[in-house]
Amino acid sequence: MSKQKDFVKFENVDKSYDGKILVVKNLQLDIAEGEFITMLGPSGSGKTTCLMMLAGFETPTNGEIYLGGKAISSIPPHKRGIGMVFQNYALFPHMTVYENLAFPLRVRKIPKDEADKKIDKALSMVSLQGFASRMPGQLSGGQQQRVAVARSLVFDPQLVLMDEPLGALDKNLRESMQYEIKHIHESIGVTVVYVTHDQSEALTMSNRIAVFNDGKVQQLSSPDELYEKPVNSFVAEFIGENNTFNGEVSDISGEKCKVKLTNAEIIANPISVKSKGEKTKVSLRPERALINPKNQMDNIHNGKIEEVIYHGDHTRVRINLLGNPEFILKVPNSSANLDIKLGNEIKIGWNSEDARALDPK
């Protein structure tokens, strides 16, 4: 079976609730069959609205959504055949786990013995065999979550939507559930659209991530590309930690550009700047800067250590560098020989290709 490239397709979708503000602006998004795609963004960025339009609980103000090549705007939610996991699980509290899972099968008039098989399979997938007769209230948060996942998959939908499903769980449980959902996705090959505001969740689970802000997809790419090569300063700042320098392009030539700061000049990789004189924000990941670099690097500057914070496996060092007092460095604890003490002057270096000159915003 060949995988469809645009199994889900958002075409020029606009959405407004009050006729004044667009919460989703001209959205174009293709989701391939079997893909795990995450919509990531701060709250109010329009990601949940997109999910609700896909599920059928909101209608697009303009544009059309296609599922498997069919326009679905006029199809009511219960006929779309999309599985959904809700933020607060939305398990039916008056039904047992078995009845919860049987609900989608019963409304589809699937014979009981076949339904029982499907329910067994779904429960074993989330390792909850033996819980069928429990009420949702008797389950822990993690177990409820798994029931919700099992329920969204039990009727074999081709597409499953998950709306911040792990938001209510504690950190350890959340991490183990992330792997569990990822493995389920890999084993049954269902298409998953996942909404979260937790970037580490998005980075660990997804094939691709769509970063939403202000009703628009800022960047749509694989997790590593998103982290390593953000295309604008919103993405750079939203994903991971980030050091920034505000300045003005003073020279640009091919792969490199010079950026003039208030009292220094650095060499950067021009991403969204084109010409001399443009304002820019240079973004640099903390782990890309080294202390006392031995290799030849094209940016080497002196800074003063302002703060040292011990984090166990690494130490965070805050340095006043080139007029930026918030410059963060992560130093692995193995390099204990380094002279990291409060108030010391140290040399910091980085390669110009890691310093991405983005839009000033």
Partner: protein, 417 residues
């Protein structure tokens, strides 16, 4: 595992339990003092009156105490033939004493409840008794009126001998103990109470149904509309609460009367002829309409408070899993509202079963309820024991409904807010 528990001591050597009790005693006293005023209030206004009512409904000491010697003498009487002279003598003695205390009127009222016809013959006996000669009272009393020579009347007096009686309860069910001591129903055309009980149940039941049918969508809207609309709607629901019950009922009288606004409207749109305006007041219709409107908030509020807690994502989940909107409603939403339905129905039904002012004003003859009858006996006939008996029958009816509800739905399931 050993079952014996070792006594744990505090560092001072006092058993832990003792010192815990000591530490908590102050809080317990404080808590009790806070509850005390309400407890006191409840005992005075609730436990005591209900106890008094219960007592009053079965209390029949009055006659027992008015005719002590008579009843003593009657102990040996088999009730077949007219009693012996000693009974008449004892009765005469008791009666003279009552006349001296001017209490013979009360006796006549009481005896008249048991058998009609006592009032006049007691009056006559009082007049004639002044000129009675000593001895042979049987002859003399029997000559006052022929009823005094009727054994039925003496049996009626004997029936009042016990200190306690369940007769008022029988009367409330249109039954009585006949001359042979059997419990029988009164003649068909005098059965007023059974009709009233049935009508009360019927009206309370239908008012509950109407309230439920109207309140469910309102409560659902209230729970799901955005705040600014739901607040407005909530005010509309609560507005009747801020108006006096009497005013509300009176406004229904204005609306429903034959020359009233509703009738004018019906005539105006040609639904009914001007000379054939339907009567919507002083009958059951009036009671239904006014009571439904007045009791509606008691249904809306419990439903609303339950619906408010039902997450909208549950309905969405039901739909996304493939249920049509109706299936999602019926299988998911409706079962979750049952605690509110139970609370609302129970509340409205219990309020309706004892409703008084509204049926009295708009119910007319065919729309009055048992509570109106109770009030009638409290105020007009002054037969308080009968009123108490009916009040207690009403109360036990409510308790039965409560018990049934608990059996069927479970009282833990009730949710008022």
């Amino acid at each position: 595992m050993s079952s014996e528990t070792k006594q744990i001591l505090t560092t001072d050597g006092i058993p832990l339990e003792v010192s815990l009790k000591k530490a908590e005693r102050k809080n317990k006293v404080k808590a009790f003092l806070l509850v005390a005023p309400l407890l006191f209030f409840l005992i005075i206004t609730y436990v005591f009156p209900i106890g008094d009512m219960l007592f009053r409904s079965v209390d029949d000491k009055m006659v027992t105490q008015m005719l002590p010697k008579t009843f003593k003498a009657m102990e040996n009487w088999d009730g077949q033939e007219l009693p012996e002279e000693e009974v008449f003598a004892a009765f005469h003695e008791d009666f003279i004493k009552l006349v001296e205390d001017k209490r013979e009127g009360k006796l006549s009222t009481q005896l008249n409840y048991t058998k009609n016809g006592f009032k006049s013959i007691i009056k006559k006996l009082r007049r004639k008794s002044k000129s009675f000669e000593e001895g042979n009272y049987k002859e003399q009393i029997m000559s006052v009126h022929k009823r005094w020579a009727d054994v039925e009347y003496w049996r009626a007096i004997q029936r009042r001998a016990p200190e306690f009686t369940g007769q008022k309860y029988l009367k409330g069910m249109d039954m009585y103990v006949n001359e042979e001591g059997k419990i029988v129903s009164v003649e068909e055309d005098r059965r007023i109470h059974r009709v009233l009980w049935l009508r009360t149940l019927e009206i309370a039941f239908f008012v509950t149904v109407f309230c439920f049918l109207m309140a469910y969508p309102i409560a659902h809207l209230l729970a799901t509309l955005p705040m600014k609309y739901s607040n407005l709607l909530m005010i509309c629901v609560l507005l009747p609460f801020w108006t006096s019950l009497l005013v509300r009922t009176a406004s229904w009288m204005i609306l429903l009367q034959q020359q009233g606004i509703v009738n004018d409207f019906f005539v105006g749109i040609g639904l009914v002829a001007d000379d054939n305006r339907p009567e919507m007041m002083y009958n059951k219709t009036g009671s239904y309409v006014a009571m439904t409107q007045i009791l509606l908030p008691f249904m809306v509020l419990p439903l609303y408070s339950v619906m408010k807690t039902i997450s909208p994502s549950l309905m969405r989940a039901g739909k996304s899993l493939g249920g049509t909107p109706f299936v999602a409603f019926w299988k998911v939403y409706f079962p979750l509202t049952i605690p509110g339905i139970g609370a609302g129905c129970l509340l409205v039904f219990i309020l309706a079963i004892g409703y008084y002012i509204t049926p009295a004003l708009v119910g007319g003859a065919s729309g009055t309820l048992i509570s109106n009858q109770i009030a009638f006996h409290m105020k007009s006939t002054l037969d308080w024991s009968f009123a108490s008996a009916m009040g207690l029958m009403l109360l036990s009816g409510v308790l039965v409904i409560y018990w049934l509800y608990n059996k069927i739905v479970g009282i833990d399931n009730i949710k008022l807010g």
